[in-house]
Symmetry: C2
DNA sequence: CCGTTAAAGCAATGAAATTTGCATTTAAGG
DNA sequence: CCTTAAATGCAAATTTCATTGCTTTAACGG
């Protein structure tokens, strides 16, 4: 399941691609949205390591670049938005695992704060970096502008430094 | 067509609500996504006037508040993202009309710039205000925090004022 | 190896969405 | 008013997605 088409692939398509029977998919996942969400989360967890560059700016820029690439290829945020409150056990586990991955970013921010650097909150990262990335991908397609993610991070850090003055 | 459920209503539901036959809807619009997009745009054009408060901050805050309310109720951005490149004539007209409405915001920004005020670009407005609003609605539901939109506008204007220093 | 259980596969069925063909209605123009 | 074209409605047919019932397969433990 790559690319980010307007519609999710059908169960029939996924089953054909995986060489399994659609019935098995339905029985295991219930519907294509839940399956797509779990797959997208698995991919994100695998492909979206938390950078460790030694500087907050480097880490955030690496993270933002990876996010931009991921958003180009994966319906993650779309399916996540649709299933964020699901109580389906397997899905809940994966969503929680993704949230824990998000806590890693929180740790990066906490370490920068402990170093006395001006530090944005995780909510700021979502608002100032991830939201515009997602918006861009939705309406303008893949991020082609070199340094777009870095620019968003610069904006984020600029705002953080204002808070400490 | 109100509210912003995970799925668009079916043609059968829309037809029943409008007291018309589903066949006519399919023949006129082809599919529910195109219809939903046109309806959402019409509603946005009707319900989303461009504020004229005399101050850029007031105008942007009014605009952002209206956007937050709209996003709570309308699948506009979701359907727009799916159909932004459509060549369907009726839809193209409406999308272009919506873009022209967007140019009104550009005028507001241009007037502020002419007054010598620190002014964000339209792209900045989309990135710093609309994208986070949309992200918020998608993942956290309706904006309940009083002043959230105003806070985003403050951030926008803060960034604009930095550019002029 | 055997028995049990869960998962997967197959085919048929069901449900919902969409399309097709034909008839009727509506609206516009002379 | 009449004609014509377009729009709409109705019913049937088709398509696509999803479910159901039964069989087969695979894994595990004794």
């Amino acid at each position: 399941m790559a690319e980010i088409p307007d519609r999710l692939p059908s169960m029939a398509e996924i089953a054909a691609r995986a060489n399994v029977n659609p019935t098995s998919l339905y029985r295991r996942w219930g519907n294509v949205s839940v399956l797509a969400t779990e797959v997208a989360i698995e991919h994100a967890m695998r492909d979206f390591p938390m950078p460790d560059t030694g500087s907050l700016k480097g880490d955030l820029t690496g993270w933002a670049d990876a996010a931009a690439q991921l958003l180009d290829r994966s319906p993650l945020l779309r399916v996540l938005a649709a299933n964020i409150h699901s109580n389906e056990p397997g899905l809940r586990e994966r969503i929680d695992a993704l949230a824990r991955r998000g806590q890693e970013l929180e740790l990066v921010l906490a370490r920068a704060k402990a170093r006395g650097e001006p530090t944005p909150s995780l909510a700021d990262v979502l608002e100032v970096v991830l939201a515009p990335l997602y918006f861009h991908v939705l309406f303008f397609g893949p991020v082609r502008e070199a340094g777009y993610a870095a620019r968003l991070v610069d904006r984020l850090l600029t705002l953080a430094s204002l808070k400490t003055k």
